[in-house]
């Protein structure tokens, strides 16, 4: 990672024509495309949507290439674009939320969002992450999973250094409480399975 970053850093005379922009964006994709996708997948909890938004992140990066003042900050800059893209998408999901029409059982069915939300989450940590506020989740993922620190983190979150630290602090407490709830829920579920083994299959 460090070596590649230095390589990018070396393009101090980076010209701003489209070919260069495309070339640099391609290199940025090779460097960070997979981690950007992984971050978006955890934020969105939807692989297909994460792929769409990862693509959009790099297209946006190409369009906004002139705003990349310091190549050394390219990674945080990409995360900033990705974060905004993810939060925009999540905001839209709040605007409209569907519950599937499935005939007689539709009232008891889980919503499409619910299915998308939980279908691919297996661990309690992922479920707890899904339960905390999105900006806090973003801060935690960037800091703990993607190793962004200090100014990188604040750049990616698009907030001041102090605000980024505060988001991280609040995120840790939110996550702790969400994990507590999640564990209690799991315990309760386990208890229900033990008392109604015939329903265990349905719960899976």
């Amino acid at each position: 990672m460090l070596v590649r970053t230095v390589a990018l850093h070396g393009q101090a005379s980076m010209t701003r024509d489209r070919a260069t922009a495309r070339s640099v964006v391609e290199e940025l994709f090779q460097l960070h495309g997979h981690e950007i996708y992984s971050y978006l997948a955890r934020m969105l909890r939807d692989n297909e949507m994460a792929a769409d938004l990862a693509q959009d992140t790099f297209v946006k990066a190409f369009r906004a290439f002139d705003t990349l003042e310091d190549p050394a900050k390219a990674r945080a800059w990409l995360y900033q674009i990705a974060s905004r893209t993810a939060l925009d998408e999540l905001r839209r999901r709040r605007i409209i939320r569907f519950v599937p029409w499935t005939g007689e059982s539709r009232g008891s069915s889980r919503s499409a969002e619910d299915i998308a939300l939980h279908g691919r989450l297996s661990g309690e940590m992922e479920r707890a992450l899904a339960a905390i506020p999105e900006r806090q989740r973003s801060a935690l993922l960037l800091a703990e999973l993607h190793d962004l620190t200090g100014l990188e983190l604040s750049t990616a979150l698009g907030v001041s250094h102090v605000a980024a630290r505060a988001l991280l602090t609040r995120g840790r407490e939110s996550l702790r409480q969400a994990l507590t709830v999640e564990r209690a829920r799991m315990t309760e579920r386990e208890g229900a399975r033990n008392s109604h083994p015939e329903r265990a299959e349905d719960d899976r």
Binding site: R16, D17, R18, A21, V25, E26, F29, H34, E35, Y37, S38, A41, R42, D46, N47, E48, M49, A50, A51, D52, A54, Q55, D56, F58, V59, K60, F62, R63, A64, D66, T67, R84, T85, D88, R92, R93, I95, I96, R97, F98, V99, P100, W101, E104, R106, G107, A112, E113, A116, M125, L141, E144, L145, R165, T169, R172, E173, L175, R176, L179
Partner: protein, 634 residues
């Protein structure tokens, strides 16, 4: 040790994970941890969750991700010219940059189809070549909406024939809206209802704040265009006091064109239909100097009678029901008791809430209302046994009713609901006209050719008869057929049912004796919580209903919209199909779809449609609006 103190140390614990604390904080935290077992647990939790987080594996990207991205970038290069630039992405419509662009675009006049005017649906524009999902087709249905830009209200129509899949709520549809009519500056649309014959009812406020109920006759305007003329100023006069009046025509302009010119929204400057292209028509006031009361105005199911209620703007009288039929110059009062409020239609009849006059000798008397169903043709009334109800909304099949119950108060002559809730009840078992309609033989025709039993509107051909399996208690109660005397006429003010005596002696004769079996045994909550403002609308096929509700009188008109399937015995309040979603008060239900306005923090809004038809769930952002005050209708 207070909870706040523990919270502070929890915060310090979290902060210490990311960076060393200052010495005083560090020492204080260590000191606290030494004596606080619970806080040591929190410290361990934080450390454990950090480890858990870091153990999360990377989610591998699809192998073709770069290929897709490269293609998208190459398309950008091909499309946009020689230099990379900051440009809005049609796929990422919420960025600040694009937001500004869309705001600029919002006032434009795109063109598509005017179903009502043109007489036929056309296909939508093709999706833009982006990575967005492909919209799927749905049955075409036209949506009308009034948007306000620069103080001028414009009536648009859009034909919606596709929707985006749920995981791509904002895919590109190429949808455009076509202006149909402009209204004079200063008019602010509050309500809109489309009639069956091209008449559009619009309740609006004029520049002076007075409320005007007007009709725009689109059917008439779709013929040979009138002579173009400048849009005159509104001439609505505000009377100092007295009964509602009718003002001279409000001018509006209408677009005679019906052919699409552009497949996508373009900035105002390049719009295909400029305001100058629109021809003059009229938005004809049918009642002015009033203030609307009760439920939004609504057309009868056959679209021939418009009903609403209002009080004089100076509050000199109470509320009365008004009706208007195409061809009439002005709306006519159907009641004259000054305490009747429009609630809904039940087939060809009007459901209203009528205030019960409190006993003047009882200082603790509370404001109550009774539910009455009135025939708009004969003014014959029948009371409904539905205690503590306000503004019951009956579904088109006359099977169910949703009504508000709670505390009522009077404020400046207008009834104001205080905290209450919305309930669902079995209307078929309490419909005072059900037995009459079931037993109806070919109705005698009066001398003027009007059926005497149901007025100008035809009685529903299929009288809902509750079947045991459909009925909440399995035994629908036959309601008494006794009727009251004919209701008041416009020249019969303060008499008949309008008088307190009539209110108790007339409709009360329909009430079961004290202790009678309740006719509505099951009244589950449609919306719980303290509801003080709400709108209930049913789909024309009674298959779904929508409830917009608000619990705070913040005056913003913003609340929460939920769409549910029709109630059933198995699901007494229906199943949630959509929502709750933030929405403005105005919304409309069409064929397996709903259209609403989502308010945005910037003060404008977005017009959205969602569908749950046999083609699947989907949605569509129809348009970025210039104002969150926009009013949609099917």
């Amino acid at each position: 040790m207070s909870g706040d103190s523990h919270d502070r140390f929890h915060e310090l614990l979290a902060r210490r994970l990311d960076a060393p604390l200052e010495a005083p904080d560090d020492a204080a935290l260590d000191g606290h941890l030494a004596g606080c077992a619970a806080c040591r647990v929190v410290e361990r939790d934080y450390a454990a969750q950090r480890q858990q987080l870091r153990l999360l594996s990377r989610i591998e990207a699809p192998r073709d991700l770069w290929a897709r991205t490269r293609t998208a970038i190459d398309r950008e290069i091909t499309r946009d010219g020689p230099r990379p630039r900051l440009a809005p992405s049609p796929r990422l419509g919420r960025s600040g940059t694009e937001r500004q662009l869309r705001l600029a675009v919002g006032s434009l006049v795109g063109v598509l189809v005017v179903l009502m005017v043109a007489g036929g649906p056309l296909l939508q524009g093709t999706p833009t070549p982006t990575s967005a999902a492909t919209p799927f087709p749905i049955a075409p249905q036209s949506v009308a909406f009034v948007d306000v830009a620069g103080g001028q209200a414009t009536l648009y129509r859009t034909d919606v024939a596709q929707a985006c899949p749920p995981t791509h709520v904002d895919c590109q549809s190429g949808l455009v809206s076509r202006p149909v009519a402009h209204f004079v500056a200063g008019l602010e649309a509050r309500e809109m209802a489309l009639g069956g014959n091209g008449q559009v009812f619009i309740a609006s406020r004029d520049a002076l704040g007075g409320e005007v109920f007007a009709i725009v006759d689109l059917a008439r305007n779709s013929g040979p265009p009138a002579t173009p003329s400048p849009t005159p100023e509104a001439t609505t006069a505000i009377e100092p006091s007295g009964a509602p009046t009718v003002s001279p025509d409000l001018a509006a302009t209408v677009d005679p064109k019906a052919t699409p010119v552009s497949a996508t929204e373009t900035p105002s400057g390049s719009a295909s239909s400029s305001p100058d292209d629109l021809l003059t028509t009229e938005a004809r006031p049918i009642l002015s100097d009033v203030r609307g009361t009760g439920a939004p105005a609504a057309w009868s199911p056959d679209g021939t009678i418009l009903a609403f209620s209002a009080i004089p703007a100076d509050h000199s009288q109470g509320s009365d029901i008004y009706t208007w039929r195409p061809g009439e110059d002005v709306a006519s009062p159907l009641t004259a008791d000054h305490r009747s409020v429009f609630a809904s239609w039940a087939g060809a009849r009007i459901v209203m809430s009528r205030l019960v006059l409190p006993d003047p000798g009882d200082p603790d008397a509370v404001l109550t209302a009774e539910t009455v169903v009135i025939d708009p043709g004969t003014a014959e009334e029948r009371a409904v046994v539905l205690a503590d109800s306000w503004l019951p909304s009956v579904d088109p099949s006359r099977r169910w009713v949703i009504y508000w119950t709670g505390r009522l108060a009077a404020k400046e002559g207008v009834v104001v609901p205080l905290a209450g809730r919305l309930l669902v009840a079995d209307w078929a078992s309490i419909d005072p006209w059900a037995a009459h309609d079931a037993a109806a033989t070919p109705e005698p025709i009066s001398s003027d050719g009007t059926p005497t039993g149901s007025g100008p509107s035809s009685t529903p051909k299929t009288t809902p008869t509750a079947t045991p399996e459909d009925t909440a208690d399995g035994t629908p109660t036959a309601t008494p057929e006794a009727t009251t005397a004919a209701g008041p006429t416009p020249t019969n003010e303060g008499t008949a049912a309008g008088s307190p005596d009539a209110a108790s002696d007339g409709p009360a004769s329909n009430r079961p004796a004290s202790g009678a079996t309740p006719t509505v045994p099951d009244r589950p909550d449609a919306v719980s919580g303290d509801i003080i403002d709400w709108v209930v609308r049913w789909a024309a096929d009674s298959d779904a209903f929508g409830i917009w509700s608000a619990s705070r009188p913040d005056g913003s008109g913003s609340g929460s919209l939920t769409i549910r399937s029709a109630p059933s015995v198995k699901s007494p309040v229906g199943d949630t199909l959509l929502g709750p979603i933030p929405a403005r008060r105005s919304f409309a239900l069409g064929a397996d779809r709903v259209v609403w306005v989502t308010p945005l923090p910037s003060g404008d809004g977005e017009l959205w449609m969602a569908t749950w038809g046999i083609g699947g769930n989907g949605s569509l952002r129809i348009r970025n609006l210039d104002s969150a005050q926009a009013v949609p209708a099917f």
